[in-house]
Symmetry: C2
């Protein structure tokens, strides 16, 4: 009997947004693995920290930041081999994932290496898009709206084309692309229907009108939500949220 590999979605950052199922498995597995930076603590592990029994084996998967846009094959090969060793020894392994494992997550690089050889279960998690909308008190989409997730690193014409083809959008991975994204939204008359949030659900979460953001200060994990044609009542809500200064 081999162990089971779990892709464990932990949600956007607030430990209370972990699901009951992820909570149960975090306490039950023998081994946890998680993405970690070169220096400092793992964000995924920090979400789970208060639920961990403290007796588990841990596998930090260190992916150097400079290759963020291309999976570091050797890193995932090595991590997969180490995880496979535990699974072969009948130990269950949970890979801790920020947000949801299959929604723009790096878990799929382990999944493609291990899922054919071992039992594998994916536990879905709350996406930072839903959590960002909740903090901003802005509906994402309704009824027969087309909603698109558009990564900011795409080229400007590609972003514009995709924005034009939807009713509502989440622009992700903004970081150093902020000024360009803001200009795109401005040219399309979408500033009034857009909201901006960074560090969703964390103590230093920030919600501000796009026009007030310093492009030099935008972190990679930031998000803009656009809801075309719903400017009026969204603007009302955003004003409420901003007046409060932070999440409720």
């Amino acid at each position: 009997m081999t162990g089971t590999l779990y892709g464990l979605g932990l949600g956007p950052g607030d430990p209370e947004l972990v699901t009951m199922k992820a909570h149960r498995l975090l306490k039950a597995v023998s081994v946890i693995a998680y993405p970690a930076p070169d220096h400092g603590t793992s964000f995924a592990r920090s979400i789970a920290a208060e639920y961990l029994p403290g007796t588990q084996k841990e596998i930090p998967i260190v992916v150097p930041m400079r290759v963020e846009r291309f999976p570091a094959r050797a890193v995932y090969d090595t991590a997969a081999a180490e995880i496979a060793g535990h699974l072969d020894a009948s130990e269950d392994v949970a890979v801790l994932c920020e947000g949801d494992p299959f929604f723009y997550g790096s878990f799929m690089y382990l999944f493609e290496r291990l899922a054919r050889r071992f039992p594998c279960e994916i536990v879905p998690g709350v996406s930072s898009i839903m959590a960002g909308a909740a903090s901003m008190r802005r509906p994402i989409a309704a009824r027969n709206d087309v909603f698109s997730v558009i990564p900011a690193p795409l080229e400007t014409p590609a972003i514009e084309r995709r924005l034009d083809a939807c009713d509502a959008a989440a622009i992700i991975k903004i970081g150093r692309h902020f000024a360009r994204i803001r200009d795109i939204l401005e040219r399309r008359g979408l500033m009034a229907s857009a909201g901006y949030i960074e560090r969703i659900g964390l103590a230093n979460e920030r919600i501000l009108p796009l026009a007030q953001i310093d492009p030099e200060q935008v972190p990679y994990f930031s998000l803009a939500l656009v809801y075309r044609g719903a400017e009026k009542w969204i603007a009302d809500r955003a004003a409420d949220a901003n007046a409060e200064g932070a999440r409720t």
Copy 2:
């Protein structure tokens, strides 16, 4: 002091996919409100049922099926007035929401009626799209993919235009539109990169290749995921999932 209104995302149906936060609030509030059908039980309430203390006041919000595509103003006006009565009496009220409250949810009809008058907090939930992908063991999107949610009731040219503008898509609300959606995917050569699931996470969940589905038997809550350009390894995974006959 008025009570607080909570928009409580409960996830796609499996009670274990409720978050720790929703779980805490389900036990703490004085009043719960939830959408309910004309006849039979409320799906949202059924997700929460095992966590409820059994001592709360309950407000079923009965929205007649025939007006599903247009909010029944009178129904929400009445429900909002009843909820407001409890909030005025310093009672906290949780509105139980399938999936996430702000992602194609009916909670926003109560939110727009009540959020300016009372403290309101949105608790995000796991979307059925993420849960469907987990059950199907199919990644939704990665890296700089554009991902779109496309409601099946849209007209065929609109669906085609939106499909062409993304790398990955979730087609929602399929129901009686199944044959038309299948034909669209077939004409675009997307059958091999599409997966289909219905009744996500429930005991009668079903995952089948699109070509094997009887169009007369498709429920409203069904989902097709398309991941363009990732046919090969998704097909492998889908074959695994189908061989198992159900979710792992």
